[in-house]
Structure formats: structure tokens, C-alpha cells
């Protein structure tokens, strides 16, 4: 039974340690935290920065549904998903997914499930700003 979940989509820097602390629970043996950061390349393409936008109210709902589905599959106790918007420099955190469960295997699997589903379904878009030209990421042929 999930005790608490926290979903945030925001323009200001993310705080992975806040997420990790939010999901900490004495009934849990551990937390798994994934932090997605802006990488300086995509394949051979050099990346200078990323610009994120979202359909925010729908994204909040989709993320909540994803967390609930994770909770049906895995006995997770607490969960936080934060996503950044706006123009992000290299190395900046774009997304944090933190999960706590009684046992680590389930925490790892739930964390992977949530970030995979987020990337498939959350109405959020990023544009790569690159010397080779700007491009919306998944619209590339």
C-alpha cells in the first residue's frame, strides 16, 4: 500500500536529495533514485542545451497514473517524480524518480518502470539545441 507520492513539474532546479529524503521510510530497506541529466551528445550529435515544455495539467495526471500502475505491480511504499521545464544547460537535472520499497529489487524495478513509462506517455517535449541545428527529440525520422 503506497503511503505517499509527490509529483512536481517546475521551472526551477530539481533537488534529487529532497526526493530521496521524501521517500525515506523506516519500513523500507532502501531507496532507488534515478536522476536524468542533460548529456552533451545524442549519438554523434553534439548537444548544447535542451529546452523542455509540457502540457502540464495532463502531464500531472499521466504521472499520477504511472505511479499508481507502478504501485499495483510493485509493493512500493513512497514515490516522488519531479520534472523540470525550460532551458537546461549541460549536466542539469531534468527528471528525478525516487522510489522506496521494503526490498531493493522491487524499488529498482519500480523506478525503471516509472521512468520508462514517463518517457513513453508523459506529454513532455524536449528540443535539442545543437550546432548542427535545433530539433525536437523524438520527431527525428
Amino acid at each position: 500500500m503506497m503511503k505517499a507520492k509527490d509529483i512536481q513539474i517546475k521551472e526551477i532546479p530539481l533537488d534529487p536529495e529532497w526526493c530521496r529524503t521524501f521517500v525515506s521510510d523506516v519500513s523500507c530497506g532502501g531507496q532507488v533514485t534515478f536522476t536524468g541529466t542533460v548529456r552533451n551528445h545524442t549519438g554523434d550529435r553534439k548537444v548544447e542545451r535542451l529546452e523542455y515544455e509540457a502540457y502540464v495539467p495532463m502531464a500531472m495526471k499521466v504521472l499520477e497514473q504511472i505511479i499508481d500502475r507502478a504501485g499495483e505491480r510493485y509493493p512500493i511504499i513512497r514515490c516522488a517524480v519531479h520534472h523540470r521545464l525550460g532551458s537546461l544547460e549541460l549536466g542539469t537535472s531534468a527528471v528525478v524518480v525516487a522510489v522506496a520499497a521494503a526490498h531493493r529489487k522491487e524499488a529498482f524495478e519500480a523506478c525503471m518502470f516509472i521512468i520508462d513509462e514517463l518517457k513513453k506517455d508523459a506529454p513532455i517535449w524536449k528540443k535539442e539545441i545543437s550546432p548542427q541545428g535545433d530539433e525536437w527529440v523524438s520527431s527525428r525520422p
Binding site: 502540457y55 531534468a94 518517457k119 506529454p123 513532455i124 517535449w125 528540443k127 523524438s138
Partner: protein, 80 residues
């Protein structure tokens, strides 16, 4: 029936607008809206998938659209 449709990410660049205002007879389902968009802006065909959201949820093609619904074009997402 007047429809207001928000275009996100690459959809905004394809239509050239963030907000579309449509009044097209026959566009009464999510699927009909999708077809209308693909025919009107053929660049949508270059995307892997174009989904329509009705009232902040992904819509199946047979979902009926009603006046006042919140509509959005959802091009391939790339969050995370």
C-alpha cells in the same frame, strides 16, 4: 461546433500556432480530428505518431468530441 485545440512541441511548429480554432463539419470524434490534422498539415505524417488528447487524457479514435472539450495535439513525447 467550434473546437479549440492546443498544439505542443513539434505540433506547434507544424501548424505555426499554439492554439487552433476549428469549425469543421464532420469532425465529431478524436479520429476525425486526427485525420483532419494529417490532411491539412501533411508534415504531421513525418512524425511517428500523432495522438489527440481530450480533456487531458489520450483519446481513442472513436471518442466523441463535444463543444467545450479541452483538445490537444500530442506529437511524439520526449520527456525525461
Amino acid at each position: 461546433m467550434k473546437l479549440f485545440i492546443t498544439c505542443f512541441g513539434p505540433a506547434r511548429e507544424i501548424t505555426g500556432q499554439r492554439q487552433l480554432e476549428l469549425d469543421v463539419p464532420g469532425v465529431t470524434t478524436a479520429g476525425a480530428l486526427r485525420s483532419y490534422l494529417l490532411n491539412t498539415w501533411p508534415d504531421f505524417r513525418s512524425l511517428d505518431v500523432v495522438r489527440v488528447a481530450v480533456n487531458q487524457a489520450y483519446a481513442e479514435d472513436d471518442l466523441t468530441i463535444n463543444e467545450g472539450d479541452e483538445l490537444a495535439i500530442i506529437p511524439p513525447v520526449s520527456g525525461g
